[in-house]
Amino acid sequence: MVIETQGLTKRYGRVVAVEGLELRIEVGEVYGLLGPNGSGKTTTILMLLGLTEPSAGQVRVLGLDPVREPLSLKRQVGYLPDSVGFYGEMTAWENLSYIARLNGLPPALAKARMERVLERMGLAEVAHRPVGAFSRGMRQRLGLAEVLLKEPKVVILDEPTLGLDPEAAQEFLKMIQSLKSEGITVLLSSHLLHQVQAICDRVGLFHKGKLVLEGRVEELAQRVLGGAYRIRLEATPLNGLAERLQALPEVSRVQAEGQGLRLEATQDIRPQVAKAVLEAGAALQSLVLEQPSLDEVYARYFQEVRHAA
């Protein structure tokens, strides 16, 4: 177990930021801490690093207590904050070398590692330019370079794709995924569910300071969406088609959506649907089985919570 918390709670005055968190993260996992802004993700991360003190509960990261043994913990854990900032008037190289000195790396080793991480993040060519002129994407990569500088066992990334354009975000996620192959445990937080869905082994969904759902993405979909198969179809004309499809025994729900229909069924019944559409004399334009997405799981879950309340 790399990260383990028991009843972790943080209160700011009367506001409860994190409540009774039970988190267990295994070696080499990529774990996604997901949830809307202000749901307690960053507070949790700060407590894991010992940057803020828990109000109650226990934390162990690599078997160390962040409050009592912060130095050996922070020597092995890399952290990339959500709005990462650098000293703008210093170059990328100088920024990294400051961090290397704070980590107490001997100069020769620091130099070798800095060259390696800058090369790996594709920043070798701009290493001697002031960071003030860097784009958001470059800063983010420099941040990851800094995290890798100490050759960490655990990497904690807070909103790593925030503010990046889709292409840069994809590229950045790929870099994060490559850490997994090196045996580094990754904990990342995000509110952009669809982006991180692809790279996370397991995810935990936060809501108002509580971890409300946890598991593999497929498992969650199964649990929350009730194992339904969703089929989207487009056809013309649509008149009367809905009733006809509703009549199929496997179909549990039909909804009009834009130019087409959305079905929920207990099985993959695409052939039957196609047949029904053609029999009704309509032209079938598309027929797709939708993969369950985390966004959907999330939206559905909170819909249910709201209904229950």
């Binding site: 700060l46 130095l71 854990v77 704070l102 107490g104």
Partner: protein
């Protein structure tokens, strides 16, 4: 997860990473534009003051055994003395170096990144404070040597060893005085999130002591020990009360300390009664040790104030949340 296995005390030294922070901050200070401006200002005023002072002293060169010390304190209208210049500019220099020490890290979003490194917050605060102090010490030393060199050129009289010792003690007092202002700037930089507010607050404190404290001290002294025209003792009491109140200001402490250190003829920093002067050889200089003793309470006061202010900044900073 056994709680018992965790050590009771926090591990490692709070000084880990101190020197990394120190050298980084000092390099920042020495290369910053704000430092250039200060250097030019201080240099110009120092050279002007020393030149004017030396001009006055040339006429009386053979009558004074403490020529170097006179160079520091001699004023010629309209220019104030070198010491007066220093006591005016150094607080500003210290505030300029310290006002954005901590809130600058917040506004650049670098604080959480730095604190995620294996160091304690102690190292960051100490490193910044010491770097500011060292930068000022560096300027002071350069300025001091410049003044000594200039006065040698203008006056052509080498200083005695006692003069050099007194001048070095004066340097120490000046550093302690600057430390107080650096401490104030550090406290405001922790208290206020905006660098502009912090600078303004520190300058307000400076203005308060430079302009208003004298008046307030007088009012307080009058209130505490009212003057009775039929009781001569009440006058003495009022004077003592005034002195006590004005000594709450670092400016007064500094002025008194350098008065005792740079003017060997000064025998007391408070009111002197005629009876106390019995048998004294008026105008004869005190030995260095006695002058130092005279300035000792003021010196320790300044150093204590510096440490106290640093402690306040330290406590405030330790309790501050990392999140902006």
């Amino acid at each position: 997860m056994q709680r018992s296995s965790a050590p009771r005390r926090r591990e490692g030294s709070p000084w880990t990473g101190l020197w990394a922070v120190f050298f980084k901050e000092m390099a920042d200070h020495l290369s910053s534009t704000r430092m250039r401006i200060l250097e030019v200002l201080i240099l110009l005023s120092a050279v002007g003051a020393v030149y004017a002072g030396a001009q006055t002293l040339r006429q009386t060169i053979s009558e004074d055994p403490f020529l170097l010390l006179r160079v520091f304190t001699a004023a010629q209208d309209p220019l104030p003395s070198f010491v007066a210049f220093l006591s005016f500019f150094l607080p500003l220099a210290a505030i300029a170096l310290g006002f954005d020490a901590i809130n600058g890290e917040y506004s650049r979003n670098t604080l959480s990144r730095i604190l995620a490194q294996p160091i304690y917050r102690d190292a960051l605060l100490w490193g910044k404070f010491l770097a500011g102090l060292a930068t000022i010490a560096l300027i002071l030393l350069a300025l001091f040597l410049l003044v000594v060199g200039l006065s040698l050129i203008f006056l052509g009289v080498p200083p005695s060893s006692e003069e050099v010792a007194r001048a070095l003690l004066f340097l120490l007092a000046t550093l302690a005085y600057t430390g107080v202002w650096l401490g104030i700037a550090l406290v405001t930089s922790v208290l206020f999130r905006s660098a502009a507010t912090s600078a303004l607050a520190a300058i307000a404190v400076w203005l308060f002591f430079a302009l208003f404290w004298g008046i307030i001290a007088q009012l307080l002294a009058q209130a505490v020990a009212p003057f009775d025209p039929f009781n001569p003792e009440s006058e003495l009491r009022q004077t003592e009360a005034l002195l006590a109140f004005s000594r709450l200001s670092p400016n007064t402490l500094y002025a008194e300390a350098i008065q005792a250190l740079l003017n060997p003829g000064v025998r007391s920093l408070g009111p002197v009664l005629i009876s106390q002067l019995e048998g004294a050889l008026l105008g004869s200089p005190l030995p260095l040790g006695q002058s130092f003793l005279l300035a000792w309470p003021q010196l320790t006061g300044l150093i204590a104030l510096t440490i106290g202010l640093f402690a306040v900044a330290y406590v405030l900073f330790q309790r501050r949340e990392v999140r902006a």
